[in-house]
Amino acid sequence: MVDFFTALTDPNLPFFRYALVTGLLSAIPFGIIGTFVVVRRISYIAGAISHCILGGIGAGLYIQYGLGISWFGPLHGAIIVALLAAVILAMVSQFGNEREDSVIGALWAAGMAAGLLFIAKTPGYIDPMSYLFGNILLITRNDIYYVIGLDILVLSVVGIFYNKFLALCFDEEFAGLRGIKTHWFYLLLLCLTALTIVLLVRVVGIVMVIALLTLPAAIAGQFAATIRQMMVCATLLCSFFIGTGLSASYSLDLPSGPVIIIIAAIFYLLTVVSTKGVKNLIRKAG
């Protein structure tokens, strides 16, 4: 643990500070969007978007190194593909007569396949592992700007339209009857989710996105009485998991993504078991 703090203050190890700052700042959109994903029950949609992103990352790498367009990188590809997937999924839920799960599956797999093919055709060696399982230590200054931008975007959009998003998640049909353009708000929610997932992919990798998006919110949901409380609680939990995960991964010399997820999963398990246990005790006592 002491080592971890020494590493943080070491001027020769800037990437460590970047990692921690990014991790803590990104807990805000993770907590807020994660809460919506949990209460609206769209974690499979989040999964499809995250896997699709590999297609965008691959295309970005291919354009950058294969075609030599240096200003275009994997982050641009990831953002474009994530938003595209959000638009497709929102349209399918509106017009697609219950075929949503097939489309989710198709996007999930096709996105990954396209990504791997692009990477195969990109000159030079690229290790897809860091995209699949994340590596927060690869985070650069540019990523920090992305995180700050996303923080501002998510806080302001959700802050302004909070009541409409709440109604959309609680009772979409009723919200529609009150004159809210529910399909536009659903699309907006999916786009914010997509941008958040792009960031999550950076922190924990494609495969583990769903865990860090939903576990903090699911734990918070066991105690929270309102969505607002759930968001605050999920954000705090998320930053706690990222902080402890990073420090543990440094001390134990383990990859950071899986350590963060395992800590989150253990906490989730403990809260589920303990709240069940407390309820049983109350029942027996009563």
Binding site: V39, I160, F161, N163, L166, F170, L177, R178, G179, I227
Partner: protein
């Protein structure tokens, strides 16, 4: 003569080429109270969704106080079945009721007036003391009343309730009818139910929906007819396509 609250003329509706409603003609006057009954799959819910504008008919016209359903959302207070909610959703009673005020502003922020109307609506169903409680902590009957309060907060002139008596106990049911009785002095009531028994006590007219829609005055309802309806055999009821609230003129 004022415009009818709901006017439906020659409406046809098909789901996937399967006719669900055929030649529906229905006029519901202001401050009328109509109970909609019929077998499952007979088209009750479809009829409600047509009236509130969630579905559009294949042909025919529907008017709510002379407006198209999609433009008339401010005239309608809607109470959906409470069974469809996620029972663990973290939301307070007050937040649920305030949802009835949505649609008045671009951002969806609530004004002081919205909060006052929401509070009045809660008082109207005797639930003002529970405003701060989590919705998930309430009993079935209490949640039903909260959903009615949310509908009242919309301040429509017609209240539409979808199976409000499913899953609630006898006491809550009596309370529900006490509330509806009060509301009927100012509002038109349209309610879908399975429970034809008490429908006869309260409603002025009954609409039987089984692909076709036929109106009956409640005075015509006898034990045998109720039994027939429960069996889904609505054709046993003598159909008179036009009837006044007073009943049929000929025997």
């Amino acid at each position: 003569m004022t415009n009818p609250a709901i006017s439906i003329k020659q409406v046809y509706f098909t789901y996937d080429q399967r006719p669900t409603l055929i030649d529906v003609n229905l006029t519901i006057n202001d401050r009328d109270s109509v109970c909609v009954v019929g077998p499952n799959g007979g088209g009750k819910t479809t009829l409600m969704k047509l009236i509130i504008g969630l579905l559009t008919p294949n042909s025919g016209t529907i008017r709510i106080f002379d407006r198209k359903p999609e433009d008339a959302y401010k005239s309608i207070s809607y109470v959906p079945q409470y069974a469809q909610y996620d029972s663990k959703f973290p939301i307070s009673v007050q937040e649920v009721v305030l949802m009835g005020r949505l649609g008045s502003s671009f951002t969806g922020r609530y004004t002081k007036e919205d909060r006052e109307i929401a509070y009045e609506s809660l008082k109207n169903v005797d639930m003002a003391s529970l405003a701060k409680r989590p919705f998930s902590a309430l009993s079935g009957g209490q949640r039903q009343r909260i959903l009615i309060a949310r509908a009242l907060a919309s301040q429509g002139r017609i209240i539409i309730l979808d199976e409000p008596t499913a899953n609630i106990d006898k006491e809550s049911e009596d309370h529900l009818f006490e509330i509806l009785g009060r509301l009927n002095t100012t509002m038109t009531i349209l309610m879908v139910t399975h429970d034809v028994g008490f429908a006869s006590k309260f409603f002025k007219r009954i609409a039987c929906v089984n692909r076709e829609v036929v109106m009956h005055p409640t005075s015509e309802l006898t034990g045998d007819l109720i039994k027939d309806m429960y069996g889904g055999d609505i054709h046993m009821i003598r159909h008179d396509h036009c009837c006044s609230p007073e009943g049929h003129s000929n025997g």
